[in-house]
Symmetry: none
Subunit: 107 residues, 2 copies
DNA sequence: GCTCGCGTTCACATCATCTTCACCGCGCTT
DNA sequence: AAGCGCGGTGAAGATGATGTGAACGCGAGC
């Protein structure tokens, strides 16, 4: 899966560098796997808006999300865990039941 | 491979003098082979950022990294060993699985 | 010729990652 | 209450990526 080639994305305290596969949380480097990173990039590319799992899968995995595939949910959880550990005061990934997820920095 | 002609690079306790082919760790000279040195310079030229093996190979070896070539990994290991022996309290070379390596001084 | 340092390559060990499954709780409907 | 869909969460197994020690060949210097 190709990773977006945008320059630099900033979401609150998060700094995403698509070219390097690097995310800085408050200046400190986050260790993300390729999938976690691609998922974050996918979410960030629609920051503030609700993104369906289908769309996230298309962007981060490539291809079509098969019915019953929970990969997306599992990786949202992994991402959440790492983001929360890095920036405990923020909640970045919000669930919209029946619709998808939304990336948004919060207090 | 010609080694960068940058002036002087300081990474935490590391002082790299590309012109002289010399590295000082906490003031003490490190004994590095040419490849080890070139690799360190390549990493240092992107300090704080994640550098792909391909890029490292291009800079330190010249030419293109062939698939299956582990030279880069092997030399990262050699470099790590020498750096850790010189400055045990620091971890300089960080692995980003699937992306590459990042040079950064750490506690 | 011999030794030594170096760079490359190989083989194996170890670790991280990805996928999938199972089970849970929740809210909604019947 | 029971059934259902949905999402959260932990874990197992297969796979792939990286770490690591050792062997080999080579060229420089003795």
């Amino acid at each position: 899966m190709k990773t977006s080639h945008g320059e630099l994305v900033t979401i609150g305290e998060l700094e995403i560098r698509p070219q390097e596969g690097l995310v800085l949380a408050h200046g400190r480097a986050l260790v993300l796997s390729v999938r976690e990173f691609d998922l974050l990039v996918a979410l960030a590319s629609h920051a503030g808006r609700v993104v369906s799992r289908e769309e996230l899968y298309r962007q981060a995995w490539g291809g079509t999300l098969r019915r019953g595939d929970r990969s997306c949910d599992v990786y949202v959880h992994k991402l959440r865990t790492k983001l929360e550990r890095a920036l405990p005061q923020h909640r970045f990934i919000h669930t919209h039941v029946g619709f998808g997820y939304r990336l948004d920095p919060g207090p």
